[in-house]
């Protein structure tokens, strides 16, 4: 007999399941709108030019493969902090922060979660927006924290339930942990406006909450890195010492290279040193030290003026293409004769769109039109092209008219 007879089969990953089914489909018009990765207008993965150039620089330098420090590549972590906080940020200039390299967004979130479990004694409750990225819950749970929720998405309007959010947040026990998506909320694409962010910042400060920002789409949402980081920077300016997770998977297309960072804004540089020492103690028994390749590519791009400029243009290009697909989808739906209000498609931002489609309608899209998405009606706009947006609009109209 086996040690593992009692081990249950883990449930299949819902998003992967979509891709699996898509692969099996033989319909030539099939569309995969489940995948959370950018595609160009031909539906192909896109390797950024600035990434290729950075790789050429790396190849020419013939560097060794010695272990990185536990906290990662210093040029990368410093540049990541500057990218998120802004070069004029008081917190950045004073050095009252620590940034460690993490395994893309997930790994960075997990470092933070483990750190909170060990050192945040006031509370082990993490408040997530309803809904949030599916992996947030298991990450925090595996780190030993409890999950709570605050209202966020209003399915009736397909936009932000701001009064519901403010109401719920006003009742969160003091010194709890609240997670906020810095921009391009996943899965809804619904972000607060700046005036709303201001009110949220005042409320979390009033409730004395520890703010955990998840920023996986800086630059990728509006096309402007400063605009996308506005909320993070505003919260810090207002006196919230936030913690932050960053990912370079989408905005630099470095998905499989796992480049990310975790930051803690501290009272001063001395506190930051102590926090760093504890983060290293957490990281060492997880994977010892982080992988170099992705971080080095990102570092070269961020720290080389020409490449940085080129990157900003390319990330804006990706964001613009997505915005353009949103616009085209709405106009195509109008052309199809749909009488529904599809404004939320262009109001929402980032890779994902909560269409408002019901499970039965999603089912029909999959079965009758070979258009694949998750049951909650979320589509990855990155999977839409000028070549298939008409077909998508037609199909959506058919199942909603």
């Amino acid at each position: 007999s086996s040690w593992w007879s009692h081990v249950e089969m883990g449930p299949p990953d819902p998003i992967l399941g979509v891709t699996e089914a898509f692969k099996r489909d033989t319909n030539s018009k099939k569309m995969n709108l489940g995948v959370g990765a950018y595609r160009d207008d031909n539906g192909k993965p896109y390797v950024l030019n600035c990434v290729r150039k950075a790789e050429a620089v790396i190849a020419s330098k013939k560097m060794d493969k010695e272990y990185l420090p536990i906290a990662g590549l210093a040029d990368f972590t410093r540049a990541s902090a500057e990218l998120a906080l802004g070069e004029n940020s008081e917190a950045f200039k004073s050095g009252r922060y620590v940034t460690v390299q993490g395994i893309s967004g997930t790994g960075s979130l997990r470092i933070g979660a483990n750190f909170l479990q060990r050192f945040f004694k006031s509370s082990h409750d993490v408040y997530l927006p309803k809904p949030s990225w599916g992996n947030h819950t298991p990450i925090f749970r595996d780190a030993g924290l409890q999950l709570q929720a605050y209202r966020y998405y209003d399915p009736k309007t397909c936009s932000l339930d701001f009064s519901g959010a403010m109401d719920d947040i006003s009742k969160i026990p003091e010194k709890s942990i609240i997670l906020l998506h810095a921009c391009a909320h996943n899965p809804t694409g619904v972000d607060p406006r700046q005036e709303q962010w201001k009110e949220l910042a005042a409320m979390v400060k009033k409730r004395n909450l520890l703010v955990y920002f998840d920023m996986a789409y800086q630059g990728f949402a509006s096309g402007d890195i400063n605009r996308d980081a506005w909320a993070v920077r505003y919260f810090i300016e207002q006196g919230n010492n936030v913690i932050l997770s960053q990912s370079y998977a989408k905005n630099m297309g470095l998905y499989g290279e796992r480049a990310g960072a975790f930051t803690v804004i501290c009272s001063d540089a001395e506190e930051a040193k102590r926090v760093e020492s504890q983060l290293k103690i957490l990281i060492r028994p997880m994977y010892s030290n982080p992988p170099l390749n992705g971080a080095r590519i990102a570092s070269i791009i961020l720290n080389t003026p020409d490449l940085r400029k080129e990157w900003l243009v390319e990330v804006k290009g990706m964001a613009d293409r997505i915005i353009s697909m949103r616009t085209q989808l709405v106009s195509n739906l109008k052309k199809e004769g749909s009488s529904h209000n599809w404004q939320h498609i262009t109001d929402q931002i980032g890779m994902f769109c909560f269409t408002g489609l019901k499970p039965e309608q999603v089912e029909r899209l999959i079965k009758e039109f070979s258009i694949y998405m998750t049951k909650d009606g979320r589509i990855s706009v990155a999977g839409v092209t000028s070549g298939n947006v008409g077909y998508l609009a037609h199909a959506i109209h058919q199942v909603t008219k």
């Binding site: 007999s1 086996s2 040690w3 593992w4 007879s5 009692h6 081990v7 249950e8 089969m9 883990g10 990953d13 992967l16 990765a37 993965p45 390797v47 990434v51 790789e55 050429a56 190849a59 013939k62 060794d64 493969k65 010695e66 272990y67 990185l68 395994i103 893309s104 967004g105 997930t106 790994g107 997990r110 992996n135 298991p138 990450i139 749970r141 595996d142 780190a143 998977a249 297309g253 470095l254 998905y255 499989g256 290279e257 796992r258 103690i281 957490l282 060492r284 028994p285 997880m286 994977y287 010892s288 030290n289 982080p290 992988p291 170099l292 390749n293 992705g294």
Partner: protein, 379 residues
């Protein structure tokens, strides 16, 4: 100034060494425009996983033939150990049984303890391993500890080139160890960070793991390609699961996937591609084995050169352990005072335990190191 501290290979010029086969494969990858940076599957690059496990278990492994192995690409050997530890804490010996004893050799790599503590285990113990008096394996102490260990205890075993002592059980001793473990229902978790690097032969260095598989054990083996591929900073590792049958292994992997998903989601691509490309090409594989022999050979040479110098100098004590020990490290047997002398007076840096990294020795510094050891022992 000589550093015998760091745990990485160095050439005779004291420099890091990017393996020629790695340079070649990196160039191939750089020139391949069909490649992109898309996510790997959660469990990793399929060609990497299969080849990595095959290297460990052997081409003719009965477990592979019977389709009862699984692999999880991990962030280095540490990552593989952690995923294995997290899984064991959740699913081994009941559900979430944090009380299952975990036995780690005395001494061992210092991070082993932290891996299992952070994975949630509450009862971490040591098993006798190093006999300081005879400078060798304390086999009897080890076997006694296994006899006394509660049933189902987990034992962390170094597959070869024990870190830090460089002292491995002989095949005969491994057989004795396996017999006790089988009888006492103890779980073998192998840490294999130096395959090929220890003796120069991949197969010889994998003998213990393969023997346990042939004896019908279900086991885990955490592999690192940091040293034998010199891919330290790319974090290339693999956790091999050997089970009773395919169905059990499948369920285990499905649960490991969930653990991976909340730890790093999916593993880094670059290092796995390099290893997979190398292992799946007969020509590149042969080149790699050659590169590995180069590294192992230099270490073996430094061992014999150091020993012969100490014996020529007439340094008190016996020094055969230096050539009998295997792998990157040697437990010299120097005591703390002697170690302090080496560091303070001779600027030769080594661990307080007396552990030296053989890779820090070069033809240029051998004389100085040998003389310094002589002084430390005689003064």
């Amino acid at each position: 100034r000589v550093s015998l501290l760091l745990a990485a290979y160095r050439t005779d010029e004291g420099k890091p060494w990017v393996l020629p086969v790695v340079k070649k494969v990196e160039q191939m990858i750089a020139n391949d425009n069909s490649l992109n940076h898309e996510y790997l599957p959660i469990l990793g690059l399929p060609e990497f996983r299969a080849n990595a496990s095959r290297i460990s278990l052997g081409d003719d492994s009965p477990a592979i033939k019977e389709n009862r192995i699984g692999s999880v690409q991990s962030l280095g050997g540490t990552g593989a150990l952690r995923i294995g530890a997290e899984f064991l804490r959740r699913w081994y010996n009941g559900n979430n049984n944090t009380a299952t004893p975990v036995y780690i050799s005395a001494p061992s790599w210092e991070n082993h303890n932290s891996v299992f503590v952070d994975a949630g285990f509450k009862d971490i113990r040591t098993y006798h391993y190093w006999d300081a008096a005879k400078r060798g394996l304390d086999l009897q102490g080890l076997l006694d500890d296994m006899e006394k260990a509660p049933e189902f205890s987990i034992f962390i075993l170094h597959a070869c080139a024990h870190n830090p002592t460089g002292t491995d059980p002989t095949p005969d001793q491994w057989k004795q160890i396996a017999a006790v473990m089988k009888r006492r229902f103890l779980f073998p978790f192998f840490d294999s960070a130096y395959q090929g690097f220890a003796s120069g032969s991949l197969d010889k260095d994998a003998w213990a793991v393969r023997y346990f598989v042939s004896e019908g054990f279900e086991l885990f083996c955490a592999q690192s390609f940091s040293k034998n591929f010199g891919l330290y900073n790319e974090r290339v590792g693999n956790l091999t699961v050997v089970g009773k049958d395919a169905d059990n292994v499948q369920r285990v992997l499905s649960q490991m996937e969930k653990i991976v998903r909340t730890t790093w989601s999916n593993p880094p691509s670059q290092g796995a591609r390099i290893v997979a490309t190398t292992l799946s090409s007969p020509q590149l594989f042969a080149e790699w084995k050659d590169n590995v022999k180069t590294m192992a050979g230099r270490i073996l040479l430094m061992r014999s050169e150091l020993r012969s110098r100490l014996e020529s100098l007439g340094t008190p004590g016996t020094w055969n352990h230096i050539t009998e020990q295997i792998g990157m490290f040697s437990f010299t047997g120097l005591n703390p005072k002697q170690v302090e002398y080496m560091i303070k007076e001779k600027h030769i840096y080594l661990m307080a335990s007396g552990r030296i990294n053989m890779c820090g020795l070069t033809t240029k510094n051998l004389d100085y190191v040998a003389k310094s050891i002589h002084e430390a022992v005689t003064k």
